[in-house]
């Protein structure tokens, strides 16, 4: 594989709250190649959004990126970059699409102004050029009558339109990487389909890399080429998208897939993962998923599992990789054994 565009190495982002340390992201590593779409999937509190914010250094007090973390992008380590150089990266080389298109837009400026602002901040060309570029980007994202829409305010646009405006804003400086943090979660399903279509289309045309962060395995299956599954602030599994869906190794990934209601399925009972995600201030010792896992044994309590290589390009943080015969022997997870109702 040639040089990756972005490589995150042992990223740890901790939040120092009064009494405890929340280890929201705890040793995450992955990389994204040129023109690739990497999906990060996980439930609330798994650290996926904090990972995204860390890449752009948008972590605020009391949060901190710990020493030893490295985020290599175009030959520079973003963790140690000075603020003015970081500003040049943000919105210019790496841009972000947020989940809530309403709160990400300023209600008192027209959307055209806000899209054009990106170019003005990064100091390219005149006001007039910036506006022309903004209208061009709005056209690219499929907004009808972009010239008129640019003069409107966010509240005059629908949710889908606002998300297109955010995408236009992200594309302004022709970035190498777009981080999309739950870009379609707030949208209706038909609008979601439009936006996902747009993102895939733009990627093939512009060759931008995308980091797609979502909780929806369906969105992952339709957009990503490689997937990172996160749980408890760690990467628990990484694989090519087809490999992951065909042959998930980690019990959490498996559980997540089985818990998802499928549109093609019948009316049978859903399989559940018992219990809830532990708080980031108190990850369990050993394997962080062991309380909820139906294969856990003593080793899972004693030893924190490393990322085992399952096959080429497929890794899993589960001791089942060394004792695969235990997969035939599921039992009640710990949370159910101790009768700890949720």
């Amino acid at each position: 594989m040639n040089e990756p565009l972005l490589s995150v190495e042992n990223l740890r982002t901790y939040f120092y709250t009064g009494s405890a340390i929340a280890r929201s992201v705890d040793g995450v590593s992955f990389s994204i190649g040129q023109g690739e779409t990497l999906g990060i999937v996980g439930e609330s509190g798994c650290g996926k959004s904090v990972t995204a914010l860390s890449i752009l250094r948008l972590i605020q007090q009391p949060g901190r990126i710990e020493a030893g973390s490295r985020i290599m992008f175009e030959g520079k380590d973003l963790v140690t970059l000075d603020d003015s150089a970081m500003r040049h990266v943000r919105g210019n080389r790496i841009s972000m699409i947020f989940q809530e298109p309403m709160s990400a837009l300023n209600p008192v400026f027209t959307v055209g102004d806000q899209v054009a602002e990106v170019a003005r901040v990064h100091g390219t060309g005149s006001r007039r050029d910036a506006w022309a570029r903004a209208v061009e980007m709005l056209t690219l994202t499929g907004i009808p009558a972009p010239g008129d829409r640019a003069r409107q305010y966010p509240h005059q646009l629908s949710g889908g339109m606002r998300q297109r405006v955010l995408i236009a804003m992200a594309l302004m400086m022709n970035p190498a990487l777009i981080i999309a943090d739950e870009p379609t979660t707030a949208l209706d399903v038909t609008i979601q389909a439009q936006i996902l279509d747009l993102l895939t289309d733009l990627q093939t045309r512009l060759g931008t890399s995308i980091l797609m962060i979502t909780h929806d395995l369906g969105v992952i299956a339709e957009t990503a080429s490689r997937v990172v599954v996160m749980y408890g602030g760690e990467v628990v599994e990484e694989a090519e998208v087809k490999q992951l869906f065909a042959d998930a190794h980690h019990p959490y990934t498996e559980g997540l897939m089985n818990a998802m209601p499928q549109i093609g399925a019948g009316r049978e009972r859903l399989n559940v993962i018992p219990g809830t995600v532990p708080p980031p201030t108190a990850w369990p010792s050993g394997c962080r998923f062991r309380d909820r896992c139906s294969f856990a044994w003593e080793m899972c309590e004693k030893e924190h599992p490393p990322l085992y290589q399952i096959s080429a390009g497929h890794t899993s943080r589960c001791h089942l990789a060394v004792e695969p015969e235990r997969r035939a022997d599921p039992h009640l997870p710990l949370v159910e054994q101790v009768g700890a109702t949720l």
Binding site: E43, S44, P144, S158, G159, G160, M161, D188, V189, T190, I191, Q192, A193, Q194, L196, D197, H215, D216, L217, G218, V219, I220, A221, E222, V241, K242, F245, A246, G255, L256, M257, A259, M260, P261, Q262, I263, G264, A265, G266, R267, E268, R269, L270, N271, V272, I273, P274, T276, V277, T341, L342
Partner: protein, 367 residues
Amino acid sequence: MTDAPLLSVRNLRKSFPITKGIFGRKAGEVRAVHDVSFDIASGETLSLVGESGCGKTTTGRAILRLIEPTAGEVMFDGRDVRAMAPAELRKARREMQIIFQDPVSSLNPRMTIGAAIREGLTIHRLFEGSAADARVRQLLDEVGLRAEYTTRYPHEFSGGQRQRIGIARALAVEPRFIVCDEPVSALDVSVQAQVINLLRDLQRDRDLTYLFIAHDLSVVRHMSDRVAVMYLGKIVELSAAEDLYREPLMPYTQALLSAVPVADPTVQKQRILLEGDVPSPASPPSGCVFHPRCHHPAKDAACAKIDPPLEEKAPSHYAACIKQTPTRITWDDQAIAGGVNPPVRYLPVVDQLQRPRNPVPPNGRQP
């Protein structure tokens, strides 16, 4: 249906006035719900699905008179809900409960969850004193929470736990009918599955009847006996869940189903991409409300003029589309309205004789 339905809704309408100026001059109205009719049999789950602003939540609330309907009829167990006096309505609410979408804002942050669940028992004078305490503990146990949680406050719980509290609160007064308004859309996948299973277990054990309101078509698939699809305040398709998912008849339903992302990268889907956004319910399109976005090959000028009735296109499968035969709108009438494309069977209607027997028995429950 052989026996009378538990809930029967006829031509329900709710419109909200748009006012202008300081005197509140009426400048127009938003047709949130327009002529919605359906029945729900005892023990059945009917789902209302649709995108934001289609009127599904308003329908659910109008049935319980949490919002006063503008017109129409709501019969619950043979009684006319709209004609009830306030005291009578309060009594009836013991049998008709609601579970809200947002478990955070629907619980009072200053009330312990024990007190929140107990409130209904006190209002309806069902249990008092230690009997009420015991009942609260039993309810918590039933929804899978520890009985000692009664003295805790809502902020101490996770989203999934709060939704369980909401369910316990609704169950406290032993209702027969529950409106579930997006009960799982705020939850994570693994927790969502737990709550869906809980709702289904409770239905089986207590013979509950649900009106399940959701926008997530895969969740609806797991919950429903029958499904009604809403668009701009109207029901555009209504049928047994199985039929609807196998063979959607209304072009909007087809687009909606095709838009759901499938968690299988090997599937190459034929996606129907809808153009544009849902029009404003303040100025709905003429004729068929869906016609500006419709992809039906036979769409023509008649679609913009004729408001399609909800017709039975296949056994117990209703859809509102004049281009889908059989239809009561004759070709002559369509031609007068500007139609040039005759209504041929463009949509995949299976021959009624070859159709598998509808497995849903009359009372709507599945074995």
